[in-house]
């Protein structure tokens, strides 16, 4: 479980995150949603420690990240896997080397075991026979899958995904959502997904935190998001004309 308490962050005098708290449960797909520019990615970067919040705590299974010693922070980071918006694969390495990278740097596993683990993870995300390809030679959807394989290769306990569907066609988006959901349940990990894709939200959101202008306006599950009475969330959900017409008809 990850607990965030009163996270605040400002950039050049502008407060981007205004005291957000929440709990992301283990074995569930937790989603942070909201319109573009509302502070979702900054909040995610605060949670993983890429950005230091001005105030607040991020607690990973009882360990307060920002108030811990460097060794504990490093230990927590080694339990984190992250899928970045563009995949963030290392351009100079093959797919195999990219996925193997966390094992190379963070473990003392023998080479043959590392290769077995890499092949297992690539197979798990539906990729085979791509080991020798470079990131520039594979599609956007494949890059995301490789990114997921790299995020789980070290048996991560926490998986963070920053807009996993951005730049993907609807079918590939669904496949990536399904994959994230399956991996979360299968390995009982705490997954936090930042998204503004309503398909993902209603399909996968076991816990949803809605952000609006740096504030948390609503939290709940995919089952009760459509019955919410928050006008900003209503506007966000029904921004799509088709959904709006359907709602009006209903």
């Amino acid at each position: 479980m990850i607990e965030i308490k009163n996270i605040r962050k400002s950039f050049k005098g502008t407060e981007v995150i205004k005291g957000i708290s929440g709990e992301f449960q283990q074995g569930k797909v937790n989603m942070i949603i909201g319109a573009s520019g509302t502070g979702k990615s900054v909040l995610l970067k605060c949670i993983v420690g890429l950005v230091t919040p001005d105030e607040g705590n991020v607690i990973y299974r009882g360990r307060d990240f920002f108030n811990s010693e460097k060794d504990v922070q490093r230990e927590i980071r080694q339990e984190i896997g992250m899928l970045f918006q563009g995949g963030a694969l290392f351009d100079s390495m093959t797919v195999e080397k990219n996925v193997m990278f966390p094992l190379d740097v963070l473990t003392k596993m023998p080479s043959d075991e590392k290769l077995d683990r890499v092949n297992f993870c690539l197979k798990r995300v539906g990729l085979e026979n791509v080991n020798t390809k470079m990131p520039s030679e594979i599609s956007g959807g494949m890059k995301k899958r490789v990114g997921i394989a790299r995020a789980i290769v070290n048996n991560s306990k926490f998986l963070f995904c920053d807009e996993p569907n951005s730049g993907l066609d609807p079918q590939t988006s669904i496949l990536i959502d399904e994959l994230i959901k399956e991996i979360t349940y299968e390995y009982d990990i705490t997954t936090v997904v930042v998204s503004h894709d309503m398909n993902s939200v209603v399909e996968s959101g076991d816990y949803i935190l809605f952000m609006y202008q740096g504030n948390k306006l609503w939290e709940g599950t995919k089952d009760d998001i459509l019955q919410n009475d928050v006008p900003e969330l209503q506007d966000f959900i029904f921004a799509n004309h088709i959904l709006r017409r359907l709602k009006e008809k209903a």
């Binding site: 563009g86 694969l89 990278f101």
Partner: protein, 242 residues
């Protein structure tokens, strides 16, 4: 001032939260190939022509019959060892290697590859920058030695082929009043310049923000700042060590 402070903080962070020696060794060897071996062709071309042009232009300026021809060899040698090989090659090095380092790190920054390293608990600065600095400091002096040798050879070839000097005169000239300390001085300069080019370029690339345009600007800025730093350091070292 803020940038200078940030530069020194970055240099300090290279030695914090480091990876294993084995990891750095492997990365440094890779960088030695990229930084050193891949620069050999440009060094060969530039240094050979640099020596040849120095020989021809020195001969052109020697109008007095009282000055012996062997002075051409002496001037080519001293100019090469003291200035052309370490300093001019450093400017070429900044253009080739400096822009490459800044471009590579800048691209890694804007595509979140550095964030990916840091999320894994790896010190991105140390992992990416330290091997580049070590490789530069190790390889650039070797390139300078090669450049000095080729420049003097270029002067010899140009002098002999254009009949402005005889082989004996040139050999005599390059051996005349030779001060070994100039070589030591050139090597000290080469280590300092290599450190400046690699660290300044890495700093510019590592803190790139924005997109492709900013990566281009970071590369340009890396080269111009490196060149200014080289010239300043060149003057300071000359004052201090000669």
């Amino acid at each position: 001032m803020k940038s200078i402070g940030k530069y020194f903080i970055l240099l300090g962070s290279l030695f914090k939260n480091r990876e294993s020696f084995k990891t750095y060794f492997k990365l440094t060897i890779n960088e030695c190939v990229l930084i050193g071996v891949n620069s050999i062709i440009i060094v060969v071309i530039v240094s050979t022509f640099m020596g040849a042009v120095t020989a021809v232009q020195t001969a052109y300026n020697l109008v007095s019959p009282l000055i012996p021809n062997n002075v051409i060899g002496l001037i080519v040698r001293d100019m090469t060892v003291l200035e052309l090989a370490p300093t001019i090659m450093a400017i070429v090095f900044a253009g080739k290697v400096g822009s490459n380092i800044a471009g590579e790190l800048g691209t890694m920054r804007i595509t979140e590859q550095i964030d990916a390293l840091e999320v894994m608990g790896i010190n991105g600065a140390s992992y990416l920058i330290l091997p580049k600095i070590l490789a530069s400091v190790f390889m650039y002096p070797l390139l300078v030695i090669m450049a000095a040798f080729l420049s003097i050879t270029g002067g010899y070839l140009a002098g002999i082929m254009t009949n402005i000097i005889t082989e004996q005169e040139y050999i005599y000239g390059i051996r005349l009043d030779f001060n070994e300390y100039t070589v030591t001085f050139a090597l000290i300069k080469s280590v300092v310049f290599a450190f400046l080019v690699s660290s300044i370029s890495a700093y510019k690339g590592f803190f790139t923000r924005g997109g492709a345009l900013e990566v281009g600007l970071a590369s340009t800025s890396a080269v111009t700042n490196s060149v200014i730093a080289i010239l300043l350091a060149d003057y300071l070292l000359a004052q201090l060590l000669l």
